[in-house]
């Protein structure tokens, strides 16, 4: 079971990573970050079966932080959208050299 779980988690993480790299839509990138986090969560859970309960405890922490992060991140995206009327990250170049 462990091997299958880890392969699945790895696949989800790579999908998330590629999504962050290739997509330009801020909301999609945000979702991809969530994918990466949840891939890690899956790994924690899979290992906890063999190592101990601590892995599942960590998952709760990660979910709590992810929720807070989602709230802040979405708020930023919304305020940027109000300003630029787009969520395409290519447009956000004001701080570039």
């Amino acid at each position: 079971m462990l091997a299958e779980s880890l392969v699945l988690a790895g696949l989800i993480f790579v999908i998330g990573t590629l999504g962050v790299i290739v997509r330009r839509n801020a909301v999609i990138m945000f979702l991809c970050i969530e994918l990466q986090l949840n891939a890690v969560n899956l790994t924690f859970v899979a290992f906890s079966r063999y190592v101990g309960i601590e892995g599942q405890v960590f998952v709760f922490f990660v979910m709590a932080v992810a929720a807070a992060e989602a709230a802040v991140g979405l708020a930023i995206i919304i305020s940027i959208f109000r300003h630029y009327e787009t969520v395409n990250v290519d447009s956000f170049t004001r701080l570039k050299w």
């Binding site: 990573t17 962050v20 790299i21 290739v22 997509r23 330009r24 990138m29 990250v89 290519d90 956000f92 170049t93 701080l95 570039k96 050299w97």
Partner: protein, 718 residues
């Protein structure tokens, strides 16, 4: 130090059982001129500020108006005043030292100046017979020249600045002769060079005078290099640089005539040659005449230029251990004496004649110390200080008067050109008499001061040539002949100067002549004192042979070999070395004949030269400078000083300038600046390349971030 109230003579050895004699406030002798410098310097700055304010307000500073108390009266009292006090203090110490049987120098340490590693140099002064003689000359002649300056410079706007520089000079000169180690002497050595520069360029708004100052300074630098190298070498050998330590061990440390001692002394010689204007570094001294005439008298005749002689005598034991260096010293001396005397034959500027005469007499002193006659060198230094200071001050009085006359007859002639003078005897009798006395002294005519000192040098050269183990006997014989010939030239050019200046017809014109005048009291009183010294000053060191002959009035002359005995503690080590290695000196000149015979011959010959020259030149009608023809033939070469300056310009100055220009245009602007700019531009290019990585796109950053994590994982994991 004793309290100030005890400026009285002390019985020697009362308190300190170590020293046989306790000096009275020796540090104050140095500090007084420094105090004078501080006060006069402050006054000079105040005067300069007032003058600048006046100019800014569109007015002209009235030098003779309200500011006179500051710019004139105070410096008049402070400048010569501190010198008088210093002189009196020196006399007190001199008398004290006379009464004490002093064999070791008295050293006073004030504080530790340089302490680093095993080197420890104390700020210490040393009083011994040699420094005492020098101090007497410096403060005594210095005071007289300060007094003369009061009259000579009274109408100069730079009056307080002048006295500030002059006081500072005396301070440094005293440091030079009173220092107890070579580095202390070096401070004085550099300091007097600085003052010389400041005073030569005293009228700095005249560019020619300003560059004469620079020339003196730069030429002296060459010599100073030698001084430093000599100190470094001595430090390497002894691990210390104070006189007491070096001279005490020199005889056991150095091999007679060895390479190290020869190198050290040759470096010292380079320093002495620079400071004392000997060939080949003599070129700065004649140009130094651009300064005020009393400065020429004090710095460029009586004191500073004799520092080289002092250096050799101070290091006499080192020079005695290096026969080659001593022979070089004597050779340079006699060549300089002859060379400068020939140039002086054909100069028309009264100060130029005196300048070359000074170079020539310094050559005699070098000859003296080179043949090991250290006392004779110092003796000639002293008598020369008297008569040359007198000649310069007299020339100053003459120039002062001629300037006045030319000014009133509206002629823009050169006031220093002797062709424009003539017949001043009637107008300036005191100056005339004083300068004749000095002329007879410098020409070496018995019984004036110069006769005894110059005769002793020439005699010692002859005696050296005939010494038992003389290393270069033939060479010394040549020196002896050249020295005799130079003495005759001296008599000629000095008589020529006197005849052209004081005798014959007055050439300033009738309107001008009305305004010719004798110098004021502050100017002629110093002249009279110096004239007295020029007459009698030579009697302090008449050799026994001369004294008992007709030249000494069969023992009637007082004092005998006083200076010789006085300096014995300083020179005895050198004499011991000489005696051990050279054996007994000859008792006859190279051509036979004893001291008395040659003394008679030289004085009669010199007198004949004076009389014949006076008679021949007295008849000749001298044209004024503007109507005179250009000199031709040999006299043209002599007038142009053997073209030495031109030679240096062509072969030293121009190549240096050309090299500098190449270094500037190519090496500096192209290569060095290019390299610096290259580094700067390269940094900027790399920065530009790096900045391309900042795309502003979060995805790119995420990509590189991921890439980085993968690389790190790969490095840790596999």
């Amino acid at each position: 130090m004793r309290p100030f109230g005890l400026l009285l003579l002390q019985a020697p050895g009362l308190e300190d059982s170590q020293a046989a004699w306790e000096p009275v406030l020796p540090g104050l002798i140095i500090l007084l001129p420094l105090l004078g410098f501080a006060i006069n310097g402050a006054l000079a700055l105040a005067a300069a500020r007032k003058s600048a304010d006046a100019v800014r307000a569109g007015r002209e500073f009235d030098f003779f108006g309200n500011g006179r108390a500051v710019t004139h009266t105070l410096p008049t009292w402070v400048g010569p005043g501190v010198l008088l006090l210093a002189f009196l203090l020196t006399v007190v110490n001199f008398v004290g030292m006379l009464g004490a049987e002093l064999h070791e120098p008295v050293i006073r340490s004030y504080w530790s100046w340089i302490t680093t590693g095993d080197l420890n140099i104390a700020a210490a002064i040393q009083l011994d017979q040699l420094s005492m003689v020098m101090m007497m000359i410096i403060t005594g002649v210095g005071f007289l020249i300060h007094v003369f300056s009061v009259g000579y410079m009274q109408n100069d706007p730079g009056y307080p600045r002048y006295f500030a520089y002059l006081n500072l000079f005396i301070f440094f000169m005293l440091v030079l002769v009173m220092g107890a180690s070579y580095p202390i002497m070096f401070i004085g050595w550099e300091g007097v060079g600085l003052c010389s520069y400041l005073l030569i360029g005293f009228w700095f708004s005249d560019e020619e005078k300003a560059s004469a100052g620079k020339k003196a300074f730069i030429v002296n630098r060459i010599g100073d290099l030698g001084f430093l190298l000599a100190i470094f070498l001595l430090y390497l050998v002894f691990q210390r640089v104070d006189y007491a330590g070096i001279f005490g061990d020199a005889e056991s440390v150095f091999v007679y005539g060895g390479p190290v001692i020869t190198t050290v002394t040759l470096f010292f010689l380079l320093a002495a040659v620079g400071k004392s204007a000997q060939i080949p570094l003599h070129i700065w001294l004649p140009d130094a005449m651009a300064g005020p005439t009393p400065v020429s008298a004090l710095i460029h005749a009586a004191t500073m230029v004799t520092a080289g002689v002092y250096l050799v005598v101070r290091s006499s034991v080192l020079f005695a251990l290096a026969p080659l260096s001593s022979a070089v010293v004597a050779g340079i001396g006699v060549l300089t004496a002859l060379f400068a005397a020939t140039v002086a034959l054909r100069q028309q500027d009264i100060k130029k004649v005196l300048a070359y005469s000074t170079v020539s007499q310094l050559g005699f002193m070098f000859l003296g110390v080179g043949v090991g006659a250290y006392t004779a060198g110092i003796f000639h230094l002293m008598t020369h200080a008297f008569f040359k200071a007198l000649l310069f001050l007299g020339a100053g009085a003459v120039i002062h008067s001629i300037q006045h006359a030319l000014h009133h007859s509206n002629k823009d002639w050169d006031a220093q050109d002797m062709r424009n003078m003539g017949g001043l005897r009637a107008y300036m009798p005191i100056t005339w008499i004083a300068m004749w006395l000095a002329t007879l002294a410098i020409a070496g005519i018995w019984p004036f001061a110069g006769f005894f000192s110059k005769d002793e040098i020439i005699w010692m050269t002859g005696a050296m040539a005939g010494a038992e183990n003389a290393p270069y006997a033939g060479l010394y014989t040549v020196y002896w002949v050249l020295a005799l010939a130079t003495a005759m030239l001296t008599a000629f050019y000095m008589t020529r100067l006197m005849v052209m200046t004081f005798h014959g017809r007055n050439r300033t014109g009738a309107t001008g002549a009305e305004h010719l005048h004798e110098a004021p009291k502050t100017m002629w009183i110093p002249l009279a004192i110096l004239a007295t010294l020029s007459v009698f000053g030579g009697w302090i060191n008449v050799t026994t042979d001369l004294r008992e002959s007709v030249l000494g009035g069969f023992g009637a002359l007082p004092m005998g070999e006083w200076l010789h005995h006085w300096l014995e503690p300083v020179t005895e080590a050198a004499h011991r070395v000489q005696e051990a290695h050279l054996g007994e000196l000859a008792h006859a000149a190279p051509l036979g004949g004893g001291e008395v015979a040659w003394g008679l011959i030289s004085t009669v010959a010199a007198l004949a030269v004076v009389l014949v020259t006076a008679r021949l030149l007295g008849r000749k009608e001298v044209p004024v400078a503007v109507e005179d023809a250009e000199p031709t033939g040999l006299s043209r070469i002599l007038f142009n000083k053997w073209y030495v300056d031109e030679f240096y310009h062509r072969w030293v100055v121009d190549p240096v300038l050309t090299t500098s220009r190449v270094l500037w245009r190519i090496v500096d602007t192209r290569i060095i600046d290019g390299a610096v700019n290259l580094v700067g531009n390269a940094a900027r290019a790399i920065g530009w390349l790096g900045s391309l990585l900042q795309t502003g796109q979060v995805n790119t950053y995420a990509f590189f971030f991921t890439l980085g994590v993968l690389v790190i994982l790969a490095m840790i994991g596999f």
